[in-house]
């Protein structure tokens, strides 16, 4: 008796997929959304306070965004290096992934991971493995928008 799975259980791929969807536990959407909202909002608040601090020093609001981003990247990288970022993001999810802290985490975690394969062939080549597409598509989109805006 050599029968394919579909014949043994008299089930099609589609039927099985329906079975799977019913069995998969529902993510705690309410809790996830709330924690993401609160943590993301908290980071935004901190970001604003940092901007306020720098404008107080004489920066214009748009100039102040630069050191604010730099500080967040530093904090994201530090938390990743200390091994706490993933423990926090287990709860906060998108709240820490979407802001620039998530970007910093993706680069830092990749750099740490591939250190074992050397500085050039490991860290250098692989540190943008996760952030690469964000950078590529971000730059390309900016270029296109910039060209369109220059023409209009």
């Amino acid at each position: 008796m050599s029968k394919k799975v579909e014949d043994i259980f008299e089930i099609s791929s589609d039927e099985y997929q329906q079975m799977v969807e019913q069995k998969k536990p529902r993510p705690p959407l309410g809790k996830n959304l709330l924690l993401a909202f609160l943590s993301g909002g908290f980071l935004a608040l901190v970001g604003q306070l940092i901007i306020n601090f720098f404008t107080g020093l004489g920066f214009t609001p748009s100039e102040a965004a630069d050191p604010m981003v730099a500080i967040f990247i530093f904090l994201g990288a530090l938390a990743t290096g200390l091994g706490v970022f993933d423990k926090i993001s287990h709860y906060t999810g998108a709240g820490t992934a979407i802001p620039v802290t998530g970007f910093a985490n993706s680069i830092t975690s990749a750099a740490l991971e591939f250190k074992k394969e050397g500085l050039v062939t490991g860290v250098g080549s692989k540190m943008f493995v996760l952030a690469g597409s964000v950078i590529v598509f971000g730059v390309v989109t900016a270029l296109i928008i910039g060209v369109i805006s220059a023409i209009i």
């Binding site: 799975v5 069995k23 992934a97 074992k116």
Partner: protein, 339 residues
């Protein structure tokens, strides 16, 4: 002929082959789980003083092998084959571990079904008269698997609740023609099954059909009922996959609910935050070569069916749009003195 083939998948291992000695080396998280007392050694960290997780995994496999050999007072040269596999590309852990054992090496890949694939192959070779003893090994490591199949270990992505946790551990076994009482009595070799699952975070759902199919082949080709066994375990379907397997088997008329469990769900406590449960070659290896082997040897249970399961998950194939096929191999273990 010493091994008789029943049907397309199952072999009766007629010339005796025994699961004689085992070595089970577990990682820290596994050492805090419910089956910890049955592991030979529990490691306290994931790197073990090595420069990489891969090197640490190699150390664990070597330690498991050395332990199994020493329990039987064997030198490596006393064995005819070293049959091993793991999850890493080019089965790196097994290949490099084989450097320690100057005997013919058969590297295998059945993903997380390596345990029963190696047992099946080894039993066929010995029962067929092509050797007296074989050393089998398999391992998995949470960090080495994560970095190869998914993301860097410090990457902060939020795991879905049906995700599984790769078990860190290594299991080794010496199978022989002459050291009872735990006998490998039948081997059922599965075929690839694919019902269109595409989610690499949910491999249990890809493997459940293969596990259920292997059990069906086994029951129908041996003429045995699930109740013939005191325990039936699948490798690493996880909670979601386990429920799917039970439902699929029910469609074919088999009620396995009471006797059947999944190693991935047995290896951790719920509070250890592993979502659907453990996965990896070591899920089945640690449970079977630790807990189940002890219970069989001592006569606490007499007959067990081990159905290790593997997803032939290729990250490249997934990105190219393919679904994830899976397979399973079943091996029946029986305590000879209770027959």
């Amino acid at each position: 002929m010493s091994a008789a083939k029943n049907g397309a998948h199952t072999f009766s291992i007629e010339k005796p082959v025994y699961l004689s000695f085992t070595g089970a080396i577990a990682g820290p998280k596994e050492g805090k789980g419910p089956l910890a007392p049955d592991y030979d050694v529990v490691k306290q960290d994931l790197k073990l003083g090595q420069k990489s997780f891969e090197k640490a995994e190699r150390m664990m496999m070597k330690e498991a092998c050395d332990l199994a050999l020493s329990k039987g007072n064997y030198r490596p040269e006393d064995l005819d084959y070293f049959i091993a596999g793991d999850l890493l590309n080019q089965i790196t852990v097994s290949g490099y571990s084989a450097l320690n054992y100057p005997i013919p090496f058969l590297g295998i890949y059945g993903a997380c079904a390596n345990l029963t694939q190696s047992m099946g192959l080894g039993a066929l070779l010995i029962s067929g008269g092509y050797g007296e003893r074989a050393l089998l090994a398999t391992s998995s490591h949470n960090c080495s698997a994560e970095r190869q199949y998914r993301y860097p270990t410090e990457y902060g992505f939020q795991k879905p609740c049906h995700a599984q946790w790769t078990v860190t551990g290594a299991g080794a076994a010496v199978i022989t023609a002459d050291v009872p009482p735990v006998r490998i009595t039948t081997v059922t070799l599965g075929e690839l099954a694919d019902l269109g699952m595409r989610d690499p975070a949910c491999l249990g759902t890809a493997m459940a059909p293969a596990a259920a199919a292997a059990m069906v082949y086994h029951f129908e080709e041996t003429g045995r009922d699930p109740s013939f066994y005191d325990a039936i375990v699948s490798g690493d379907l996880g909670q979601v996959g386990k429920e799917l397997a039970i439902d699929l088997l029910f469609r074919r008329g088999y009620n396995v609910g009471d006797i059947y469990n999944d190693c991935g769900t047995m290896i951790y406590y719920p509070h250890q935050q592993v979502n659907s449960g453990g996965s990896g070659c070591a899920a089945s290896a640690l449970v079977v070569l630790g807990n189940l082997f002890r219970r069989l040897s001592q006569g606490e249970i007499n007959r067990a069916l081990v159905v290790a399961t593997g997803a032939m998950h290729s990250p490249t194939a997934c990105l190219q749009g393919d679904s994830i096929p899976a397979l399973a191999y079943a091996v029946s273990l029986e305590n000879e003195t209770s027959q």
